[in-house]
Subunit: 422 residues, 2 copies
């Protein structure tokens, strides 16, 4: 079935996510960003995402029809479940003017799937055995809903279930290999993403204004999020000149920003700090208060983190700081729990208890309550104990509880990274 398309222009790709809970804002659409990244990996660029409700059927049909008219490849997700509000099968059939046909072999497959899990198939799951005419089922290794793959007027339409792990498995197992055969000439234009922290977006842009004017082989993009500003350089062709321009510009940007660039492409501050610790054969422990476990989580989210991360203590309340982390009581009495000496003590005691090279200590006021004129919400003390000395940093962050938490974790990781660069 997978005959390579001979296309002269870049294929237009669109994604449609279907679910009332999505347009009601009850759940974020994680599938479209995932698919967009994966498609970029096979040289297919997404142009638009649409999110639309299951019900009423008419606008859903309309959204599918419009998207399929605009695009060469359309991937729908969601609404393939067995329940009465799952209407994607019907909507696709209607949008393309095809009949829905019952497939006995598909039903047998669904039934087998249930049996394998030791569960009897509820009768409502029989709905999942219908396919639009001349469509092919995409096997679902993790759930009951098969996907749909069909070609319609030289266009490709793929339908996947909305459950992220099922969608991902099916994309990797069936859709990705199919698309690679179908679009063999799709090549992603070379691009580079450089990640900075510690500088405001408009300054990053302003310091590159001359390069933006000069390098006409490249498109520049700037993306700020949670204290991090990404510089994205996209070549406008895959020619030699564009690639050279990309390399030259990366070198120049690195020269201008130096240590403010912490990584490239999919690097995160966590992954960079982890790699630096691992390379230098160093270990770290955490004594955190206001971040409540988020700093330890940042370290342990990375597979293999046990090589560098030994221990974290979440010391909420002074009792715990004193009895578990062994912060001297007098220190808390004299300076208050949110203070430089207590942050330093948290870092040093974490380092001692975990028997590690480094210790990170964090104490602060995340709010909404607990602030005062002298110590307002957003005040945070961060300390890093190293074998030589204990560094300290006082910060004041704006925003709600969750925003401040993210910023504190970023600042603590950045402090560790800078120390490891020395």
């Amino acid at each position: 079935m997978a005959v390579a398309l001979r296309q002269k222009r870049t294929p237009i790709v669109e994604l449609v996510s279907i679910g009332t809970e999505l347009v009601q804002g009850e759940r974020g659409d994680d599938n479209s960003p995932y698919l967009a990244k994966e498609l970029a990996g096979v040289g297919l660029v997404c142009h638009r995402f649409t999110v639309v409700a299951d019900l009423p059927l008419t606008p859903l049909v309309r959204a599918i029809r419009e998207a399929s008219q605009r695009s060469d490849l359309l991937i729908l997700s969601g609404g393939l479940g067995p329940t009465d509000d799952d209407l994607t099968r019907e909507a696709v059939a209607k949008a393309l003017g095809r009949k829905l046909l019952f497939s006995p072999s598909l039903l047998e497959g669904i039934r087998k799937n249930f049996r394998r899990r030791g569960v009897f198939m509820p009768s409502i799951n029989a709905r999942q055995a219908y396919l639009p005419k001349r469509a092919r089922a995409i096997p679902n290794p993790l759930g009951s809903a098969p996907g749909i793959l069909l070609e319609h007027r030289k266009k490709i339409l793929v339908v996947l279930p909305g459950v992220p792990k099922e969608l991902r498995a099916m994309f990797q197992q069936t859709v990705r290999p199919y698309l690679k055969k179908r679009f063999p000439r799709a090549t992603s234009l070379p691009s580079i993403r450089l990640r900075t922290t510690g500088l405001p977006e408009s300054h990053v842009n302003a310091r590159l204004e001359d390069l933006i004017q000069k390098e006409n082989q490249l498109t520049f993009g700037f993306y700020a999020h949670g204290g991090i500003v990404d510089i994205k350089l996209m070549a406008q062709s895959s020619g030699k000149e564009a690639k050279e321009s990309l390399r030259r510009t990366e070198r120049e940007i690195r020269r201008r920003f130096g240590p403010f660039i912490f990584g490239k492409e999919s690097d995160t501050l966590e992954s960079v700090v982890f790699s630096l610790l691992k390379k230098r054969k160093k270990t770290i422990s955490v004594g955190e208060s206001c971040t409540g476990g988020a700093l330890s989580t940042a370290f342990t989210r990375i597979p293999g983190s046990s090589d560098v991360f030994r221990m974290g203590v979440v010391a909420y309340g002074n009792d715990t700081k004193i009895s578990v982390v062994r912060v001297p009581e007098a220190l808390i009495r004299r300076h208050g729990a949110v203070s430089e000496p207590v942050a330093k003590s948290l870092a040093e005691q974490a380092r001692r208890a975990g028997k590690t090279d480094f210790g990170l200590g964090v104490t602060g006021i995340l709010g909404p309550a607990g602030g005062s004129r002298k110590k307002p919400v957003g005040l945070v003390h961060i300390a890093l104990a190293t074998p030589k000395k204990t560094h300290h940093q006082k910060c004041l962050f704006a925003g709600d509880r969750e925003t401040i938490r993210v910023r504190v974790v970023r600042a603590a990781l950045e402090m560790t990274r800078r120390a490891l660069l020395r």
Copy 2:
């Protein structure tokens, strides 16, 4: 300006998020879910979200034009920044056929904003002082980009910056009050969301099939995510009969599912466990291994959590389990770190060290490495130490590292909730 519209039908609302980083999947669109929820609060139902790139300009203009033709209220976000890839102002002007005009007073405002933050305005920010003809600026209390509000052929168009905290502040301060005046008759149809855990989606649906057939005043929706299945009941009118049907159905569903329903509306397992602990004046500590801080984070994410949560230890590696949490070394030697006795010891020692009523202990293998035939990836032991006894639960979860982590936290919280119900 805010004259109430006399509308007979429900207004059609659409959202468009603009940003190349969004369609490339480099960042999720958090703004649309936020806006959808807030709009629902003033009785406005979102019908569709669109996500589109800043560049090229033509498809962006086309997406804005299409959405504005379909809707009565259109809210755009993103692309109002000062950098060269921020083109929303231009696109809106083009889509509606209006000129962009320079506003000296707007420039003065932007300049003042910078001065207040002690920063000199970079010249590129002058771009933010342009508005489409006959549009009004929406003040931005947190950043340099003003928003745009305009009326076009009896339709309303709002443009907000993509930075979430700026968008949120501007929505609350200006857009929300404006919409309430403009759509005074918008009333949200009554609905109820009941949250269950511990049951598969198709079973929840199947057990309500008779009610779905019978209650023709209601629409049912089922949403499964991370081990939680939500039942959403939506009234089809705001009449008395529909409300009565809603109440009756809620009672019946509660009767059928009993303790499997853990909450309602915006309740989360975390918030419910927090409330139960607080109501019963109980405190809790955590000793976690594989979850790496995520369990402590679940407790501390809630404002006021210090009333019930005292301490967490993230004991990665056996050393820490022994020296910091004081799990007996012999226990680990005999049973291995991932075992019932070690989970129980983690729970009991956390309870002791934190001097709390409860202690939660978690140990398991999250993968991708570290699994064996006897102890595969996904094997997790969870224990809850109470003043009377220590409960234990052995689980096997499927999925990647992050999926398993989320499931383990859910299971540990659910175990605590069930114990608190007794």
